[in-house]
Symmetry: C2
Subunit: 316 residues, 2 copies
Amino acid sequence: MRTESIAYAPASVSNVACGFDIMGFALERPGDTVTLRLSDRPGVRITKITGNSSPLPMNPAENTAGAPVIAMLERLGINVGIEIEIHKGLALGSGIGSSAASAVAAAVACNALLGAELPNDQLLSCAIEGERIASDAVHVDNLSPCLLGGFVLVRGYSPIDIVPIRTPKSLWCTIIHPHVEIKTKESRKSLPRTVCLSDVVAQTGNAAGLIAGLLYEDFGLIGRSLHDVISEPVRKHLIPGFAAMKQAAAEAGALGCSISGSGPSLFALSSSPEIAKRVGDTMSGVLEGLGCKHSLYVSPISQKGARIISTQDHAL
Amino acid sequence: MRTESIAYAPASVSNVACGFDIMGFALERPGDTVTLRLSDRPGVRITKITGNSSPLPMNPAENTAGAPVIAMLERLGINVGIEIEIHKGLALGSGIGSSAASAVAAAVACNALLGAELPNDQLLSCAIEGERIASDAVHVDNLSPCLLGGFVLVRGYSPIDIVPIRTPKSLWCTIIHPHVEIKTKESRKSLPRTVCLSDVVAQTGNAAGLIAGLLYEDFGLIGRSLHDVISEPVRKHLIPGFAAMKQAAAEAGALGCSISGSGPSLFALSSSPEIAKRVGDTMSGVLEGLGCKHSLYVSPISQKGARIISTQDHAL
């Protein structure tokens, strides 16, 4: 057991255009940082929340970083006092896995603090307890890439079947986050309950094509596969300047561009940092023209995912 | 230009459980053989049809092997007389790409006969003219693996985007063809017009999983991905002994088993010829118990697809 453990977990993009509820990838930055400290006072407490945060619950059972810590202590049957400090690099409701990043960082930090050496599937299972607070239906398409890095396929949900997808190192991502609010729960309600067969064929073809494109490192195929016939058509009107940003991204050389998760952020994939930056500038220009405040991130795809950034042991 | 050219094109399995209308693979055997001969008599004629055939049209414009030859001559603006002999190794309406095999063999043979050296996309485009005779909607998920060999993903249809998928050499296929008739056109009518969102998620997850499984040569993942939530539920009752055969295949060690194309054949994939043979024996036993006549094939996945097996040149 250690006295302190600090973990970082990155932003992630789920759905990835053609992979509704089955695909996600992790960025290198931005991300959330969670610090856990052993405390003489029993119980789990959140002592500080800093950074890019709307007001977040200080009750650990209602906090996406608190719940995974409680879950891990219960599962291991360990009864110690733990203080949690959360630094939010991600804005809530941005659609780039803010709750997943806090939950995963907390699970990874707690694992190190307790010296538990839990494997990834059990870390994921604890992190799910955090994600559950943010969304009725728990999807692991943010959690699993956030934990593992790279692209991840969630082949199935019963049982959860996570398949890491080898990701080309030169793939970069642009994220633009218009500062408008879309609640995940509400955004899911706008989804169609059924999909016509021709759209199912298009979606499965593109999802399969994206996997092949990633594993073949075929950027052309990746680009041709990045189309969403399910959620983008019903969600795009919630995002200011959507069509113009998508067109700008394509003209600036992006392989593809769509909604990140349930929005409002858009992601664009590019084959180099230079293109990714240019894509960001043109998309940003569209929102500036609309007078819409926004944040812009340009990052490689994370090959590592969540990680411990520091630990302190008991003084001997 | 040559005086004679003989091409072989193999059986193929489309849909492949999770890849409705987007995936197919080629077997090494059985297959159709098409012989083309230059003739002094103008026009295209079918002179002989042998083998495993129900009565087939002798009018080349109405025959799946004739139409591609007519199409190729028209496109190349060549006016020569051609005689066609067809040897059917595949039974019509078996669901293992009988019309595709004849169409592809004819296109490949004609290409060699004329010395046209057309690339694969143009051969496919001519072969489509043959497939069009057998089915209202032209799907290339039999034609393209039959032409190219291995697994093929049809990422999209407009334009047609064919992605060959590297296929593990130790993958074997068992085909069992119960001698009952299911017309492709009628079988398609039984398909659902819409699919509920959770089934779309399952289908895309499995389609993406199958591609990853093939490219990683991960037989466990291939097996976990071989589920069909779209066509199997509405088509399985058309096939005698379906549930018992599927269970028998699993018990004999198959990775997965589902309907080949629109049926009535079932395919099962296995990781060795020994397992594939055992799977065939147990499935065959089920149909024997029901008194249902059937054919059984055990074959590696074809790595080559259609090919020229002999040519004769003009005597000098």
